[in-house]
Symmetry: C3
Subunit: 449 residues, 3 copies
């Protein structure tokens, strides 16, 4: 069984917060999109830390109701004014180019140019992030302030991009456990220079995968690094056979900003993953927000589509689309806090620990209480400062281990920390008081005559 | 499918508020009771607007545990003082006579008269409405003020009434729809000169029936104009075979006063009609009150009796028996507000619209989201000012159309207006994304492998 | 059927409050423990009031996971200082001796004595109550104030006790009713001079048993006077065959102090006993507290262990272990209030009345309302000041007597007092409107076609 404390110690010793932040810094300049070399370079960098397998799905491949689009690659882009001065330059910020722009190279007057310019009047200093994946066009994004200063002139617009048959690239890291049942973490890798959304998700997921590597685990773990929407659709269409094995899933995105956690529940509403994350958040001291499932947001839209209805929740700090830095040039390195990255990593490790250790036990002495004293379990625990709490944990576990209640159920009912219940249940198991319950949950405790 | 907007336009164009109010004025002077010519004249007036069928059930007929009583008719009634002056006159207000009084014609002293007088000490200016259907007696109702001014004298009491074998009369208007499943509106017609209770109900129900006539409807509609209690018992006893077809029902009464709506839920508590009315009330801007079912009130008592347990709610403005004008001469034409009549009519049309359009769809592309863009459904809706809301409606409908959720379920979950969901689901259906789900609800989405 | 009013009248006439208090006074000086002559003398005193049967279970008997311990008896105990002065004397308070102390007789210095002394630093005036049933040792309890005043000296410690093979004693009073289904009251008898915990429970239970004796009852009643934990384990191990007959159970303890009631629900959470006690508490005017089941407290721990999961709640005033007098010399006769004893007795009688009269009826006229008037039931009840409430009770009972709802269900739904519903249902039954429903609850009202 995974040891949570050891793992937490490793986090502290290895300055993983620095490493996570620095990975974000390394990935930041790359211009990613839903296809293309930006994704490939990103995955190559991740491969230095985890043994990621990458997949290439050719343009034109049918994935459910969708088709893999042409591959987009960009080398350069700018707008020059009449005097030949670059006033907008892709090399300053890759957000300047409408993502998936087709190539262009011509001189046009301001009036025509304006049809291809995107800005944010409500945030006049920021460059917006815009895309046009499925409608072929070109465009530039710039601050509204700059847009307003543009004078009548002939402008040279230049985009050196290609949109051609190629493939969609995604990465997958699979960590086999004792069981073929899976816990999946999915993070999107299609955004260019945007840090919280979603270099934070990429970085935390990578380090999570790294930390789990080599641990003895019950579940098999799969980490998906995929372009948003088309990526999860592609993955699901190629992995339908796996669907029955997916027991827990989390979509990880926007997990590095200063806010406390937002958890969006799965469509099932009370999947174990929903209960696990809520239990952890309730035990934490910081505030948090839990949202009901809605069919809008990140890739949980696909994982929770009605034919799959997978137990996938979505974890963020600032909620999807609600913050002013969202999809703008303000989602930069300054927007990320190292301690928030590490806090996210800890939450995820905690969730994994709970999924790994959650067990339904059956009390082997269910008629009245077993005599704990004669086994040295009662008071004998007096050495612990928390002996009374441990005693209560024993009583709760014994009373509710009727084959129908898991440790998660008992934690919810008793308000005792899951970790303590997990430790105590092992002790009770070692003393022959509990057995592990396998098979289905019966309506009535099985030992009631 | 019924078009709600068109119908609302017709309401406005035709000054139906004036017409409803004027119908109340026409019916006001008639002395109605649970039997007799007052009911017949009332139904005759309604027949000018809707093709009502009337039924006569003979005195002595057994209707479940009850028996149709003798028919009561009254022509004149008064009290004269010693000087021969009429001090109480049926022709001033039919409330003056205890409803179902037997004939009387004698001179009696004040002391004896007082045993037959009814007044309201707590509302000394008002004449109460009193009945004695099942105990043969006679009496007069008058203001407490007048009662207190009566001096010792010999009074002539005269009631020219008959209580004889005859029949109980009720009216029914049936509007066949595509399905034999029924939506029933029931309103009581047994009260004499009382406007809110229940000429308002009679008038609104009549105009509702009138407006639905000629529309293409899914459900069959039945409008019952029946005396309270004995009328619904009679109708149910004669129409037991229909019971299985009744899918929605509403008892309409006291719907013209100035108060906001009171909805009393059916005994089933979560029948579709309960959910529909609550959803409309929640979407409206005015306050409202929802009450749990109780076996006391109007004819829902009979429709919701345990052997029938029909999905019948009860709609009023001021709640049953709670207002001081209730069952007094103050429930007159001044107590009715035209805009409240029209507001009730609109609510009922809205409820009908929802019952008619509520559908369980099945998403034909349930694996991930279908690609809305390529069908021109996504953003292409940008022309609408509410394009984002329409987009969300599409996503909600697609995600929850697993065969187990109706539009009503989706409206409750998503908080999106039912009308928008109804419109969007038709569009999705036209684009081949949705099919109509028929048959029973399965526990699990049928397409989950 | 038990008559609640008659029984309440008997309570008042017989000064039972005085008698209950005086029984507590009689039992107070006895040094009880989980075994020994203290328990036997206690039961002998109770035998003067109820025909209690006592049982002796030999040391060494296996009772589930436990073994009946050696029997403990004590005659004398003291600590003398160097001058031979008794500074701690068992005859002043039996709390002075660690309950289950082994014999000792020696002189020891203060430093060694201190290892055997127990006090309460947070309540320096009070003597604590301490036990050591399963670990052989000796000790004294004293006020912290006295402990701090002890000087360096040679102390004589003397405990004249025996811990030998013998038996565990418990008492049982069985009152057979019409049915072999049982209602059990259990109270612990193992505490020495402590009044609230649990002489109050012993006294109230004794008088409850006494009052029920001779009454015609539906249920059979069993009153258990048992040592805590080992006693209930012993009883359950010897009476496993009875378990299926136990329909309601209450653990009674700490019911004489000044506080209002605390009810701890059974592990089943919505057993009839849980609903009955909560309904009574809600109808009472005083505040009360209801707690969820937890596997810690009094003997409900054993009755609600997972293999039995019996419908046992636990009734107290001050909750288990929460008051500062708990398990100290301050839990003395002054801590008990007579009116609280009688209040507890009334609550228990009320609960018994409800369990006895709770019935599922079936309305024999379920199609619409039966005509109450022709049976003289409607208005004819006008003589009662509460005639309207009685009328409502009739309507509620008739509407919900579909075979699925008991009077308890109807009381919860209607907010009408259970007692009124019980009386009215008898009247309706006598008038042939209701029949008693036997057999299982069906999902649907059985008379719906």
């Amino acid at each position: 069984m995974m040891d949570l404390n050891c793992t937490f110690t490793r986090l502290a010793k290895n300055n993983i917060d620095e490493e996570m932040y620095s990975l974000i810094g390394e990935l930041y300049p790359i211009c990613r999109s839903i296809t293309g070399d930006g994704v490939r370079s990103t995955l190559d960098i991740l491969k230095k830390r985890i043994d990621l397998k990458t997949f290439e799905v050719p343009t034109g491949t049918q994935v459910f109701d969708w088709t893999i689009p042409k591959e987009w690659n960009i080398r350069d882009a700018y707008i020059k004014d009449g005097k030949g001065k670059k006033i907008v330059d892709f090399h300053d910020s890759n957000l300047h180019v409408l993502n998936y722009s087709i190539p262009v190279n011509k001189k046009i007057p301001l009036s025509e140019l304006k049809n291809h310019l995107y800005s944010l009047p409500e945030h006049p200093e920021l460059i917006p992030y815009k895309t046009s994946y499925y409608k072929e066009t070109w465009g530039f994004c710039l601050s509204h302030k700059q847009l307003q200063q543009l004078k009548e002139d002939d402008y040279e617009v230049y985009i050196d991009a290609t949109l051609e048959d190629g493939s969609l690239t995604y990465g997958e890291y699979y960590l086999p456990g004792k069981s073929s049942d899976e816990f999946i973490f999915s993070t999107h890798i299609c955004h260019p220079s945007l840090c919280n959304d979603n270099l934070s998700g990429i970085s935390v997921t990578t380090f999570l995968a790294h930390l789990l590597t080599g641990q003895k685990l019950k579940y098999s773990y799969r980490f998906l690094f995929i372009p948003g929407t088309i990526g999860s659709i592609t993955w699901l269409s190629r992995n339908e056979a796996l669907v029955g094995q997916i027991k827990h899933g989390l979509v990880i995105s926007s997990v590095g900003d200063k806010e406390s956690f937002t958890y969006k529940k799965s469509r099932r509403d009370d999947a174990d993953i929903d209960r696990i994350i809520q239990l952890i958040l309730q035990q934490n001291e910081e505030p948090f927000s839990v949202k009901e499932f809605s069919p809008y947001g990140y890739d949980e839209r696909q994982f929770c589509s009605p034919a799959f209805n997978l137990p996938f929740g979505s974890l963020s700090r600032s909620a999807y689309g609600t913050y002013e830095e969202y999809h703008t040039s303000a989602d930069n390195l300054d927007f990320i806090q190292k301690e928030k990255l590490i806090g996210t990593l800890k939450l995820l490790l905690h969730a994994i620990y709970m999924a790994e250790t959650n067990t339904r036990y059956i009390n082997l002495y269910p008629k009245c209480e077993p005599q704990l004293g004669k086994r040295g379990l009662y008071n004998a625990l007096g050495g612990h400062v928390d002996s009374r709490e441990r005693e209560m944990a024993m009583l709760w576990i014994l009373n509710y281990s009727d084959g129908n209640h898991s440790l998660l159920d008992i934690a919810e009912k008793s308000k005792i920390k899951f970790e303590l219940l997990a430790v105590i249940s092992l002790i009770l198991n070692q003393h022959g008081l509990l057995d592990i319950k396998t098979g289905n949950i019966s309506k009535e405790p099985s030992f009631v005559s």
